[in-house]
Symmetry: D2
Subunit: 371 residues, 4 copies
């Protein structure tokens, strides 16, 4: 009878997730599978509220994140840019964090204390997350602010290096200040996707200087207006953590275990992006069509990104062109003309929307048993 109850429980979980994934609400909810050894955390670590130049109370940021099924967020208010200061004098710069923490306390959403260090070029903008006290970061000297953040144990990343307001060519320029921060181990990550922009040059910098690859929304207004109603999800950073805790998130960020995702675009180090893509596609069934040498393989995309693949096998498809898209949450049947009946087959596909380096897309292999 306990077996029956277990089954009942499983059915309810299934029904819930089924209903959720098919509901309007569910359309917003982001899902990405875990990879071997890690849980995949959906994070957005660059956001603003009325406590700097944003237009909503921190509670809205928490509710937006819950609706999109995020696991971890940080409100990174500008330390130096405070347009609402006349109305919100707030002596304590941790206030936005505290309000978000309070709003999130009955949900599973983790909140990181963070701040944006906002200077003009050549210092530019950076985010420090996992700080202990934002107030102590207030300092005229940027060097001192970075030092303090690091002393607090912060993970620090360079914001929108390719933003043409700061760099008119749209190419990030690594300043002496930033080089020094990297050398001193005070700058750990770089936004490769910010708002709508994926910058290939920023990816090159990440790889060259061993910086963690980040994707963030940098939201000031409403996620609904800036992203969802245009048919987009916000950019996020998938963090591969040992468990869903703040400490594990921090450890993973320092270890560089991330993939930046924006809709169907995925950018990350090969060592994490390939297992992620492999996990995103599940082989649901595989067998030969009777009396043929055509293997019928059913794939399911259990991520929230549409995945466009290009056939890399020596075999052709029946009924599917060599370039095809497996839509988020949907299944697709590939008929593979193997010429003779095989026991095993390596499905080999290039992920055209995924990048491990500028203009470099990974090829993913799935081992398939056919008998």
């Amino acid at each position: 009878m306990s077996r029956f109850l277990l089954f009942l429980l499983l059915m309810l979980v299934f029904l819930e997730s089924y209903a959720q994934s098919h509901s309007h609400q569910g359309m917003r909810a982001l899902h990405y599978p875990n990879i071997e050894g890690y849980v995949t955390l959906k994070t957005d670590l660059h956001q603003h509220s009325v406590f700097s130049d944003g237009e909503v109370w921190p509670s809205i940021r928490v509710m937006e994140a819950l609706r999109e099924n995020l696991d971890v967020i940080s409100l990174t208010e500008h330390l130096e840019y405070q347009p609402h200061k006349a109305d919100i004098p707030h002596p304590d710069r941790n206030r936005s964090y505290e309000l978000a923490l309070d709003e999130a306390k009955e949900h599973g959403l983790l909140i990181i204390n963070g701040s944006e260090i906002t200077r003009s070029e050549p210092i530019g903008h950076s985010n420090a997350v996992f700080i202990q006290d934002a107030n102590k970061l207030l300092n005229d000297k940027a060097e001192a602010t970075f030092r303090e953040a690091n002393e607090q144990g912060a993970f620090v990343f360079w914001n929108h290096p390719a933003w043409y307001d700061q760099s008119p060519s749209g190419n990030p320029i690594l300043s002496d200040f930033q080089k020094e921060r990297i050398e001193k181990g005070e700058l750990h990550g770089i936004e490769v996707i910010n708002t709508f922009d994926y910058a290939e040059e920023s990816l090159a910098l990440a790889l060259k200087h061993n910086l963690t690859i980040m994707g963030t929304s940098d939201i000031h207004g409403l996620i609904d207006w800036d992203y969802l109603e245009k048919g987009n999800h916000r950019p996020i950073t998938l963090v591969f953590a040992k468990e869903k805790t703040l400490e594990s998130t921090r450890e993973a960020l320092f270890a560089g275990r991330t993939v930046a995702v924006y809709n169907s675009l995925m950018v990350g180090r090969e060592v994490y992006l390939k297992p992620l893509l492999k996990a995103c596609v599940e082989i649901k069934s595989a067998h030969y069509i009777e009396d043929t040498q055509i293997a019928r393989v059913v794939l399911e995309n259990n991520s929230s990104s549409d995945l466009t693949f290009e056939n890399q096998m020596p075999y052709n498809f029946y009924s599917t062109p060599p370039v095809f898209t497996l839509r988020a949450g949907e299944s697709k049947t590939l008929n593979i003309k193997t010429l003779e009946e095989l026991d095993k087959l390596t499905l080999s596909l290039k992920a055209l929307g995924a990048y491990t380096a500028p203009r470099t897309q990974p090829v993913i292999d799935w081992e398939i048993t056919l008998r």
Copy 2:
């Protein structure tokens, strides 16, 4: 004042086409641009009605074609397979053509007299279109049927060479019979797309034996059920004709001026596919974003196929990944980081859903003036 009337007329035409392209009805209507020197005719030259093994009266085939905005169709009833013969004895095998002709007479749709020559392997199935009299094609000897079709001036093409019902590996096998027909100049085309299937091997045969590339629906039931309600359009053959007449269509088919299209898939000889893709994308505007070296170029896809491109330029995009999709009928802004301000720019994109040979996608160049 006549200028005013001309303008009024143009506006009405515009409004009509605007309304049409945005209406539900318009969702079905297919549009592809003309290319230099030719009008682009949307054709489906492989269809069935109750006069062979189809399930609708010929009038429905005409109405379906009008709703999808086709220019030319042919009802190619099986000469040898007549499952409804007990109810429709029809001594005259041109009857289906005549009924379609009558239904279409008040519309711009052109109807070609055609028949399917239906034999088991190794002869297989072929369509003869532009015949004069289907009755004369009835002959026990397939050689005689092909000869008669050719004597009537027919354009003859090989149907679904990769169909696994006929070839269990899904690979087309060119029989001696077919080789002989090709050598004698009695077989002129080959279906590279039939129903849902694009066969790369059929494309290879088309190129090797200089056969015209064809795409057809082979519809028996309802276009709505088999294609539209699944989110697909039927496969068609775009024919590049000197004018929209039957004679020009025939001339173009014999000259091999075609591209087979199925949704976002386009298959054709480079000499026609490249100009088609170039015409499908119109540069609506191009200028530098003020105070930057980023060229803002607005593209419009004036075709009914979603076009997925990959950047082939030495320059990167701002806000758009290197692989992107320009949806059917929609516009998109590309921001190109040219590093310095240029007077002219060659936009160079690989069309990932288009094939000029197996696994070979064309790169298209658009010359853009920036000042």
Copy 3:
């Protein structure tokens, strides 16, 4: 353990129906609940194929009916109007019925042999369904045809009495011929809904002359084009039969146990329409909102018709206007301000889209227990 298997089975049935009701396919499928003592059969007893002036093979009519989840259909080819006769000479006028029967044989759809008796005014058009042999109905004298149909046991109904092609005022005129048929018991039903038209005058005739109320599609082209793509379902007749058999259907038609339905419009005798509406709305839960005198009642519409109701209670609603719509297949919460806490409540609503007589809408009562 058998309990476990039973549960498993129930879950699968539930999942299946859940998936079906939420799928695209499911959008077409019509559902209406049974009423006390009867199964509710969804029927369309007036349709045409290529065997008279329709445009599809009988198989398409069967497939359309299966997609809309109908229980019983009849192909009622015109006996006298045969525009395709040159191509389909068919000496046997039961042929369309036989082909439909063959197509339906592996499905649960019941096929009735029927024919349309087609004369100009004052005789007009009628359908005879449940005939034994259509050929014997061919007779120059309409009286003889009606007599023969009745001798075969047919249920005969008057088609589109309000059709303005036959009656330019759009008002049905009962001719002497028809009066005589009714008096002799040879005419048993009347179409109150045909194609898009509900005729109030036809309902009046049904009530006055005790004729069975019918609704039919009278389809000639495609159900998809004429109804579904316009956002409509075809008109049907709900038949309240003792069981789902042909004989029970016939018995129910003669007994007048029907409701004609077209989208949100329902027309029938009060004795059947009221129980139907009552069954269409299920009370899912009912309790007082804590610390208030407001009863929260959850209704579910388990039919495929949107139901618009007007409050007839002495109590007002909280959050819902007195006129409201309960959409097909959806739930809605009514908050009823009962002024004091009650043990029982009679929910009393007028069904604004339902007619038991011209301009006469029924009031339905549901007894609700609140504690």
Copy 4:
């Protein structure tokens, strides 16, 4: 030539409005026609921002209103309930108004200075709009606050009288305090629709005590989440003003020239609701169907409310049931069986979603010329 330019301009205006009304953005935009002698202003005079218990900066309220095409709004922060006071101490209670004013200054949106007077029962909640200085309303004695608001020229209305948090039966209770305010002319309006709730008892109070009928959103979170994503528009008050100015709006409110609207629900005094409904439906064409006595009348609903009507004429419809819905922004053809050919016809319909008194729906007449 100037005629040509005029035409060009008109076409552009048309195209713009056409595109707007068909775009996603346009789906939000509310439209209601003017009535004889007045412009129809779309207003929402009960809203909150972070300056009381709302969750957004005032700028978001302005942007929401612009997206829904409102003409006039007021941010009515609670004078007495200030949960964010620790963070936003704001000594000046006009601050929210000033920030909204600044945000709106480049748009046509009018901003009214207002405040919510927030007391427990029996005083309850009221809004004072058109105040000069919110700070002066801060007073322990509610009588003094009302007096001050009135001395400042404010229009004062009673909020959500039927809210069950304040009145557990969901029935508004007019307290002695409120009676006194009405007698003294210090309370001028009453919310008949607040959030999702239309209270018939509040309408009765409005009529009995000659209070202006109001509908408001009372929004605290996001309009998108609370209304739009559920398929609703926010409740608004249509104000019939002599011109689109603040002063005219105020004059109209005091004169009681309003209709409260929530989706398809319209509540107002007959003298304003009837002309509004009449203006909402435009007769686009009217003529007899050839050779019939059936008048074909094309109606267009140029409002953003779906309008459900019931035929009140002695004539029946062809193809349309007596109760039908004319969707927002759409057209519908009514075929009216006038029995003989008429020169003129009075189309007479009851508006089932409109109320001039509890459970009292108006009948609207349109005079139609048929020749």
